[in-house]
């Protein structure tokens, strides 16, 4: 009985409730590093060059979509927001956010779709479509070089707590939580890869494994698939809560927005 209790205690001892407060960090702030520092020099040079970075194939589509006017009733993004590198500067660093009208937590993709249906009177863009990836990359690019900037306050603390809970909950047949790789074993090898700290500053990013651009939610699903857990749907409330927690976790002067980034 005592042995059973001991096993039980050792299983639950590392979950969200074992922290003194909601804002306790496992990785100390001085050790925080962007995922860019974990990839090879070849890949870094690809990420540095706007000419060679394959993500720019999506950015140019996003730019075209930003400027495209369907008709007078369906204005383009630029007819309200103007030049994205001015009006959208810093925007992607603040997401996910609560939508004032609906009270829902939404990320950048959600905001773009909301703007399309509410103001542009256009159909929503499908998540993971070339158009959606293109426009999020184009908007995200306006914040390049700025640090991530998530604000947690009384309005979104519940989402944050749920995201934090997910982050420290063991999942899937492999029975791992995010923390086991990305906080307790970052810098070590997982097969041929170096485990990163799991910051979200490069997304949407071009990933060599996918051979295309992908969103953060796709990346999170790839991790869920890796531990053989239930893969929460793209844009689901679970992934949004987790995204909010991750955004807070990546909020540090050293973690600057790289989108559209390049990753393994």
């Amino acid at each position: 009985m005592i042995r059973l209790l001991f096993i039980f205690v050792s299983i639950v001892c590392f979950n969200a409730s074992s922290f003194a407060n909601d804002f306790e960090r496992v990785v100390p702030p001085q050790a925080l590093r962007s995922g860019l520092t974990f990839i090879s020099e070849d890949l870094r040079s690809l990420a540095r060059s706007d000419d060679l970075n394959p993500a720019f194939l999506w950015v140019i589509q996003g730019e075209a979509l930003w400027k495209k006017t369907e008709s007078a009733e369906h204005p383009s993004c630029s007819s309200c927001h103007g030049e994205s590198n001015q009006s959208m500067r810093g925007v992607s660093t603040r997401y996910p956010q609560l939508d004032k009208q609906s009270g829902q937590l939404i990320n950048l993709e959600g905001r773009i779709n909301e703007c399309r249906t509410r103001h542009q009177k256009l159909p929503e863009l499908a998540l993971e479509s070339d158009e959606m990836l293109g426009i999020t990359a184009y908007v995200g690019m306006a914040s390049r070089g700025l640090p991530m900037n998530a604000h947690i306050d009384a309005s979104n603390i519940e989402h944050f707590r749920r995201g934090r809970e997910l982050y420290y909950t063991r999942m899937g047949q492999i029975n791992l939580a995010c923390t086991h790789c990305h906080e307790q074993n970052w810098g070590r090898k997982l097969q041929g890869e170096t485990i990163s700290q799991g910051h979200i500053n490069a997304y949407p990013a071009y990933r060599l494994e996918w051979q295309r651009m992908g969103s953060l939610h796709r990346r999170l699903r790839a991790c869920l698939s890796g531990v053989r857990a239930y893969m929460f749907p793209l844009g689901s409330s679970e992934l949004l809560d987790l995204e909010l927690f991750l955004a807070w976790r990546s909020t540090d002067p050293k973690i600057i927005v790289e989108s559209p980034g390049v990753r393994r």
């Binding site: 000419d51 060679l52 394959p54 194939l57 589509q61 051979q211």
Partner: protein, 105 residues
């Protein structure tokens, strides 16, 4: 399908310069299986041609060994201003094109 043609900003008449091409294409190898276990048909960029002032300056035929969104680069010389035209065709017969105006000093 999007494509980018990247050239230097200052091109001098008859001086060699490097042209980079990036094409968005899945470059399906023909060896992969889908979730049901059926083979996904090969679909790569079969032919690719770059012309400048209606003269062919670069030609390539790609195969299964080339990664998605291929990046190609070559050197050329340009005597005067003109349109650099890129066109390609894949195994499914889908054609794509892109062009860029070269300004020669």
């Amino acid at each position: 399908m999007a494509a980018r043609i990247i050239t230097p900003t200052n091109i001098k008449s008859n001086e060699p310069f490097e042209v980079r091409i990036l094409i968005q294409h899945a470059m399906e190898t023909g060896y992969r299986l889908d979730l049901m276990g059926t083979l996904i048909a090969k679909n790569v960029i079969k032919n690719l041609t770059v012309t400048y002032l209606d003269a062919v300056v670069f030609k390539a035929s790609l195969g299964t060994g080339i990664a998605a969104n291929p990046s190609l680069q070559f050197w050329m010389r340009a005597p005067q201003n003109g349109l650099l035209k890129l066109s390609w065709e894949d195994d499914l017969g889908v054609m794509g094109q892109a062009e860029k105006l070269l300004e020669v000093k």
